[in-house]
Every structure is written in structure tokens, then in C-alpha cells.
């Protein structure tokens, strides 16, 4: 066993060091500052003006955070901070940009939604801000402790917003279920982390990798830790067989929350999986690859088959999200290969897919958001009837999102899948790719089924109200779903830069 070394900690912490550390996590720090500011604004202003003011503060925060991350991506001296507990490397910056964009999209869509449903707007935006910060912390964590901190910040904020429609039983059920399952998953992750810590004597992910490289034998403690963390992560990214909560929680939560969760928690979960598994445990790759391959195959099969029979769009997209998690896992599995080229290609494909998945999935949810009325969400498939008469633009965009999710070229979903599958085949997991492909055929059935009411002739001709901000968010998502499909190179380069070789430890 590793003795726990009692190293003397140097307590001197100079101002310049503090500044350097802070600049590494500048996007997070910026957003945190605006979170506090938003709370103060929410307190100080009269009730009638709170919602708009907090939304403004949040918007400025997201934009500044995005700008900071973008600046640091291009000009920053990216490296570890806080004695290795966090980092400002390109991997974290990639996800920070992703989450900042997601925050902007969520804000744009939720603003009018909250008004229509007469919810208290201020706290909603504050909670989403907190969740975004949690995701960013998760992405930039290089220690198990920091990762857990981010995970909890993210989860706790989401527990609350899931139950934001307090009058609805479904929303309450959603929050309660998410709290219980989320707590359960966190416990699993924490237990797994504790075991890995016990086996290696450190919580710093690069040090874990070093320790494991030095000790050739595989410690059962660590293996058990991997299994437990794997289970916990599978809960978070809603991969089968740990997906049971997903449809219920997604259905009950208000739609902007569902949209936010479906993209955000998934991306954050994958950031953590990559950081810990591919970054910290590359020497045990064969062990966790088997585990993840099983989870991936189950997710794709269960998610796609269950989605067929859904009549609620939220549930359908929830199951589709389960299936999509399975596809993305193929890239993560390829990211465990010893060959650096395959590994980099695998992880880059994951980053690429998560980035583009944001636009197509969020866009689909955003269209449904606009259907909601004051009394509740309207997410039955039949609620989409005659959409092309009620709003031709939205009908076309919904078609784009669905076809992109189904993986039709020239939309971006196709390239996402192409990269993932290429990585999978290169890594020798052809059987998994074949499962993915067969299940993709199934998925086309239900994605296209959504389009049937959209384009069907219906007696409904009532005009829908589209707020400017949400229309812009949806149009942006739709345009990117097409443009990134026609020209995926830039994002792919960014994804590749997001996983430099140095990321994999010594």
C-alpha cells in the first residue's frame, strides 16, 4: 500500500501567484462575480424590475466569460493553477466556451418563457448561472476534489430549477426524483473517488496517472473505484442502464431547464469522464473501456428502442439523449487507446460532438419552449400539428434539428457521427460502431415521426408568439447546425487543440 506521505506544504502564497492562478480560471471567476452581482441586483431592485435586470446581468456575465475564455484560448498562457487542483488548459477553455454559449442560449429562450408562465425570473437566472459555473468548474478540475465540488454545485442548482414550476405535481416529482437519483450518483462518484485516492494516495489527476504508471500491478481498490465512478458518471450523462430518471425528470422540469440539462450536464459529465478516465487512468484503459463499451451499447439500444413509443416530445428527446450518450461514449472509449493519434482523434470527436450537439438538441427543445402556454408546457407530439402553417420558419428549423440529430448530411450531426465512428473503428471497436449504426436506423424512425405533425395539414392556424430573443437563439442554432455541417473544419481543429498530447500526463 502507498503510505500517505506527509509532505510539508508551503504556505506562502504571493500576490503574483494569486493573480496568475486567478487568470487561469478567469472565465469562471468572471461568471462568479456576475453571479454575486446578480444576487445583489435581485435584492436591491423593486420586484417588477428584478427579472429583466438579473437577465441583463447574466447576459453580460456570459458574454464576458465567453470573451475571456476566447481571449485566453488565443493568447493565454494556459496551464495548471492552484497547485494542480484546477487548470486553464485548452480542454477546459473549450468547455467553458461551450457552457457560456449554452448559458446565453438558455437565457434567450427562458426569458420570454418565464414571463409567459409568470414564474419568478430573478432566481431562475441566478440558479442557471450557478449551474453553469458548476459545469465550468467541472471542466477545469484536475483534482478529484475540485471535480466533486463542481459536480455538486451543478447538481444542487439543477435540483432546484427542476422543481421551478412549483404548482405542478410533475415538476415536483421531477425535482424530487432528480435529487434522490442525483444524490445517489454523487455518493457513487464520491465513493469511487475515495477508493482511487486510497489506492494512489493523491487526488490530483496527473499524479494519479504517474502513480499508476509506476506501479505495474492493478490494485483491486482502484478497479472498484473505477467501477463506482463509472456508475456515477453514467448516471450523470444519463447512459443506460442508469438512465431511468432521465425521462421523468426531463418531462417534469420546465422546458428551458430540460433543454439546458440535456446539453449541459451531458457535456459536463463527459468533460469529467475524459479528464478522469482518459487523463488520470490511461494505464487502466482496458478495464474502463470494457465498462464503457457495455454502457455505450446498452444506451444506444435502450435509448433508441424506448424513444419509438414516446408521445411526449420531452420524453422522446430524453431517450434520444440516452442514445446520443451512447454514441459519444464510443469516442471516449477510443480515447483510451495507447496510440496517441487514435486517442487524440477519439477525444477530439467527443468534443466536436458535444459542441454541435448543443445546437441541435437545444434548438429542438427551444422550438417546443415557444409552444408553451401560461398554464403549462405543451410537449405532446400532437401539439406540433400544423406548425408549418403557424410558423414556417420554425417548421423548417425543427426539420433541420431533427434531421441533424438523426445524422443526415449535410447537417452537422452527420459529421459528428462520422468522426465518432471513425475513431471507434480505428480503435478496433467495430462491433460497437455497427451497433450504433443499426440503432441509428431505428432513431431515424422516431426523429422523422416528430416531423409528421409539423408538416401535416391541420385545422390549427392560431399564430404562435415568438419572442425576439428566443427566435434569435433558435435561428442561430439552426444556422449553425447547417453551417458547421458544411464546414466542420474550424470546430474540429478547436476540438483537436482541446486535447493536446500533454494533457495525458507524463
Amino acid at each position: 500500500m502507498m503510505p500517505l506521505a506527509a509532505t510539508a506544504v508551503d504556505l506562502t502564497y504571493s500576490w503574483s501567484q494569486a493573480l496568475a492562478d486567478l487568470s487561469q480560471i478567469a472565465p469562471i471567476a468572471t461568471l462568479t462575480l456576475f453571479l454575486l452581482f446578480a444576487i445583489v441586483v435581485d435584492l436591491a431592485l423593486p420586484k417588477s424590475r428584478r427579472g429583466d435586470a438579473v437577465a441583463m446581468v447574466a447576459a453580460v456575465g456570459y458574454v464576458l466569460s465567453l470573451a475571456t475564455a476566447f481571449y485566453r484560448w488565443n493568447y493565454g498562457d494556459n496551464g495548471p493553477a492552484y497547485q494542480g487542483y484546477a487548470t486553464g488548459d485548452k480542454f477546459s477553455l473549450f468547455f467553458e466556451m461551450l457552457f457560456a454559449v449554452l448559458g446565453i442560449l438558455t437565457l434567450a429562450v427562458s426569458h420570454s418563457y418565464l414571463k409567459r408562465r409568470r414564474f419568478v425570473a430573478g432566481e431562475f437566472h441566478v440558479l442557471i448561472l450557478a449551474a453553469v459555473i458548476g459545469m465550468m468548474v467541472l471542466a477545469s478540475a484536475t483534482s478529484l476534489v475540485t471535480a466533486f465540488l463542481g459536480l455538486e454545485l451543478l447538481s444542487i442548482s439543477l435540483y432546484i430549477v427542476c422543481g421551478y414550476a412549483r404548482g405542478e405535481t410533475k415538476s415536483q416529482e421531477s425535482a424530487a426524483k432528480y435529487l434522490l437519483v442525483g444524490g445517489f450518483a454523487s455518493a457513487f462518484v464520491l465513493y469511487g473517488m475515495a477508493l482511487v485516492y486510497g489506492g494512489t494516495g493523491t487526488t490530483l489527476i496527473p499524479d494519479i496517472a504517474k502513480t499508476l504508471q509506476a506501479s505495474s500491478s492493478s490494485n483491486p481498490l482502484i478497479l472498484l473505484g473505477i467501477v463506482l465512478m463509472g456508475v456515477g458518471f453514467a448516471f450523470k450523462i444519463s447512459a443506460a442502464p442508469f438512465h431511468m430518471w432521465t425521462p421523468d425528470v426531463y418531462q417534469g422540469a420546465p422546458i428551458p431547464v430540460t433543454a439546458f440539462m440535456s446539453v449541459g450536464t451531458k457535456a459536463a459529465g463527459f468533460a469529467m469522464v475524459i479528464r478522469i478516465f482518459a487523463g488520470g487512468l490511461p494505464h487502466l484503459a482496458p478495464e474502463w473501456q470494457v465498462l464503457l463499451a457495455f454502457v455505450a451499447a446498452t444506451s444506444m439500444i435502450v435509448g433508441n428502442l424506448m424513444a419509438i413509443v414516446q408521445s411526449s416530445l420531452k420524453r422522446l428527446l430524453a431517450y434520444s439523449g440516452v442514445a446520443q450518450a451512447g454514441y459519444v461514449l464510443i469516442g471516449v472509449i477510443a480515447g483510451g487507446q495507447a496510440d496517441p493519434a487514435v486517442r487524440a482523434a477519439g477525444l477530439a470527436s467527443v468534443l466536436f460532438y458535444l459542441f454541435v450537439y448543443m445546437f441541435m438538441n437545444f434548438g429542438a427543445f427551444a422550438v417546443v419552449t415557444a409552444l408553451a402556454g401560461p398554464e403549462g408546457d405543451r410537449d405532446r407530439l400532437s401539439d406540433l400539428e400544423g406548425l408549418y402553417r403557424r410558423s414556417p420558419l420554425m417548421a423548417i428549423l425543427m426539420t433541420v434539428f431533427m434531421l441533424s440529430l438523426a445524422g443526415f448530411p449535410p447537417f452537422v450531426g452527420f459529421f459528428g457521427k462520422l468522426f465518432l465512428f471513425t475513431a471507434g473503428v480505428s480503435a478496433g471497436y467495430t462491433w460497437l460502431v455497427v451497433v450504433a449504426v443499426v440503432m441509428s436506423v431505428v432513431s431515424v424512425y422516431y426523429y422523422v415521426r416528430v416531423l409528421i405533425p409539423v408538416w401535416s395539414s391541420s385545422v390549427r392556424t392560431d399564430k404562435l408568439e415568438w419572442s425576439v430573443s428566443s427566435t434569435m437563439a433558435i435561428v442561430l442554432s439552426g444556422a449553425l447546425s447547417l453551417v458547421l455541417g458544411l464546414y466542420p473544419t474550424t470546430v474540429l481543429i478547436a476540438s483537436t487543440l482541446g486535447v493536446p498530447i500533454s494533457f495525458f500526463g507524463p
Binding site: 506562502t12 500576490w15 435584492l43
Partner: protein
């Protein structure tokens, strides 16, 4: 690696065996004369007259939870206080920032009525 767990395994087996033996022995050997008051869950001889589950006001939970949150956060002051001198001015200012954040939270709770009992 696995060998080092053998003592642990032996220990666990002994523990389980001992407990099993004790429980079985007391079950087999001990006198067994059930009586209504003996079987009552509360065994101090006092007959229970009210249900054990008492309903508390929901407001109590809110207060309790707020107390715990601030309590846990104030625990952070203790290790800081021990090494305050070594951390110098930086540590002091850092702690003020921390307290400032706590204050905002407190103000938030106050303003939103989290401290009102009614």
C-alpha cells in the same frame, strides 16, 4: 497486491463468525418467555401512549437547514485561524472576500423572507 488483503479477509470472517455464533447461541440457549410488555418496542417499562412519529412544523426544517449551511461554512474559519499569521495579509483579505460572499447569501435569505417564522 491481493495478498495484503488476506489478513483483512480473515478478520472479516472472524468477525462474521463470532457475531453469528453469539446470536445463534443466545437464541438457542437463552430462556424464551414472551410477554406483551416485553415485546413492546420501548423497553424501559413505561407503556407508550403517543405515536413515536411527531409532526414538526415545516418551517423548522428551513431554519435547521440554513443553520447547517452557515455552520458548515463557519467551520472553514478554524483552520484559517490556525495559520492566519503564515498566510499574512493575503489570507486576511481572502477571508474578507469569503465573508462578503456569506453576507450576500445572508442578505438574500433575509430579504426573501427565509428568516421569518410566519
Amino acid at each position: 497486491m491481493l495478498e495484503s488483503y488476506v489478513p483483512l479477509l480473515i478478520f472479516v470472517l472472524i468477525v462474521l463468525g463470532l457475531i453469528g455464533a453469539l446470536v445463534t447461541l443466545s437464541f438457542v440457549l437463552g430462556p424464551n418467555k414472551p410477554h406483551k410488555s416485553k415485546l413492546a418496542p420501548y423497553e424501559s417499562g413505561i407503556v407508550t401512549d403517543t405515536p413515536a412519529h411527531k409532526r414538526l412544523s415545516v418551517r423548522f426544517y428551513l431554519t435547521a437547514m440554513l443553520f447547517i449551511i452557515f455552520d458548515v461554512e463557519s467551520v472553514f474559519f478554524y483552520p484559517w485561524a490556525v495559520i492566519m499569521r503564515q498566510l499574512k495579509w493575503f489570507g486576511l483579505i481572502e477571508m474578507f472576500v469569503f465573508m462578503g460572499i456569506l453576507l450576500i447569501a445572508l442578505a438574500h435569505i433575509w430579504r426573501k423572507g427565509g428568516l421569518d417564522w410566519d
